[in-house]
Symmetry: C2
Subunit: 185 residues, 2 copies
DNA sequence: GTCTATATTTGGATAGAC
DNA sequence: GTCTATCCAAATATAGAC
C-alpha cells in the first residue's frame, strides 16, 4: 500500500510534467527536472528511486487522474453539448490555451521506455472512450460516436502541434470551439 | 556556391531524417545518426562540420525540397480534387502510411535550436500556402481557403500523433482520404 | 528528506593516421 | 573521405554527511 498522494506530490508532478511535455522524454534531463522542481538531482532520486522512467510514469499517472475527473464531469453532465464545452474549457487550462504540448505527443517518441508509451496509449484510449460516450448520449450511433471521438482527438493533438510550429495558439482555441458541434451534434 | 546535391547526399539526408523524425531533435544522438547512415561519427562531422544542428538543417532543407515538388504538382494539376488526391498519395509515402512521424512535430520541441524551429515554421507555412492555393482554385474565398488549409494541416499532424500513440496507422489513412473533400469541395 | 560529492556512462566534438 | 583514438561536457545514478 503506497502512501496517499498529497498536495506537494501533485505540485511536484505538475512541475515535472511541464518539463516532460515541453522537452519530450529524451529531451527532459535530470538537470531540467531538478531546476523545475527546486530539488537537487539526488533528492529526486530519493523520491523516485527508479529515476527518470519513474518520474515520467508519475507524470502520466497524475495526468490520468486529472483527466479522469474531467471525463467524469463529461459523463455526468445531462446537457451533452454543455458537458463537451466544459471539457473544452478544462482542456484550455491543461494545454495553457495551446501554448503547452501534450504528453501523448511528446512522451511517445522513440527513446521513451515502452511502459511509458503503453501508459500514454491507455490515457488516449480512455479519452476516446469518454468522448465517444458523450457522442452516444448526444444521439450518435456507436460507430459514428467512435469516429467523432477519434476526429476530436486528432484535431486536438494536431492543433497543439500546429500551434507550436507556427507559434500561434489561436489554432488550438479554434479547434476547442468546434468540439461541441463535432461531438454533440 | 555550394556543390550540387547528389544521390548519395539525398540518401544520407533520408537516413538522417528517419532518426530525427522518430527520436526528435534532442533524442537523436550522434550514435543513432552514425548507425543509421553507416558512417562513423567523425565521418559525419567531416560532412557536417557544424555537427548535429547542421545535420538537422540538412534534413529540413531536403524535406523542403521534396515537399516543394509536391506543392508544384498540386499547383499545376488543373483538376484540383485530383491534385489534392495526388498530394495525399505522396504524403502517404512521406509518412509511411502513418507509421513515421513528421519533422514539424518532433523537431520543434524545446531543445531544438531556434534556427531549426524557424526552418520548420517556414516549411509549415509553405505547406499551408500550397493547400490554400488549391482551395482557392477549387472556388473557395481567400479566408475560407486559409481556414481549410489550416484544418488540413491540423488533421494531418494530429492523425500522425494519434496513429503513433495508438499504434494504429489507419487513423492517418482515414484523414488522407478526407483531404480532397476538405480542400477542393 | 535534502544536500554535496562523486562515480559511470553517454553524447558531442576534434586530431591525426591512412 | 573515412577511420581509430581521444577529449571534454553533460547526463544518469549512487554514497554518505547532515
Amino acid at each position: 500500500m503506497g502512501r496517499t498522494p498529497n498536495v506537494d506530490d501533485e505540485l511536484m508532478h505538475a512541475r515535472l510534467a511541464e518539463v516532460f511535455r515541453a522537452n519530450g522524454y529524451a529531451g527532459a534531463s535530470l538537470s531540467d527536472l531538478s531546476r523545475a522542481t527546486g530539488l537537487q538531482r539526488a533528492s529526486l532520486y530519493h523520491r523516485f528511486p527508479d529515476g527518470k522512467p519513474a518520474m515520467a510514469a508519475a507524470v502520466l499517472t497524475s495526468m490520468e487522474s486529472h483527466f479522469g475527473e474531467i471525463f467524469e464531469l463529461l459523463a455526468s453532465e445531462p446537457d451533452t453539448a454543455e458537458g463537451v464545452a466544459e471539457m473544452a474549457r478544462r482542456m484550455a487550462l491543461v494545454y495553457r490555451d495551446g501554448r503547452m504540448a501534450c504528453v501523448l505527443d511528446t512522451m511517445t517518441l522513440i527513446g521513451a521506455p515502452p511502459e511509458i508509451r503503453a501508459h500514454a496509449a491507455r490515457l488516449a484510449r480512455a479519452w476516446l472512450q469518454a468522448m465517444a460516450g458523450a457522442a452516444v448520449r448526444a444521439g450518435a450511433a456507436e460507430q459514428d460516436a467512435e469516429r467523432r471521438a477519434r476526429a476530436a482527438l486528432v484535431r486536438i493533438e494536431g492543433a497543439l502541434v500546429v500551434a507550436r510550429v507556427l507559434d500561434d495558439p489561436s489554432v488550438f482555441e479554434q479547434v476547442l470551439g468546434e468540439l461541441p458541434d463535432l461531438l454533440a451534434r
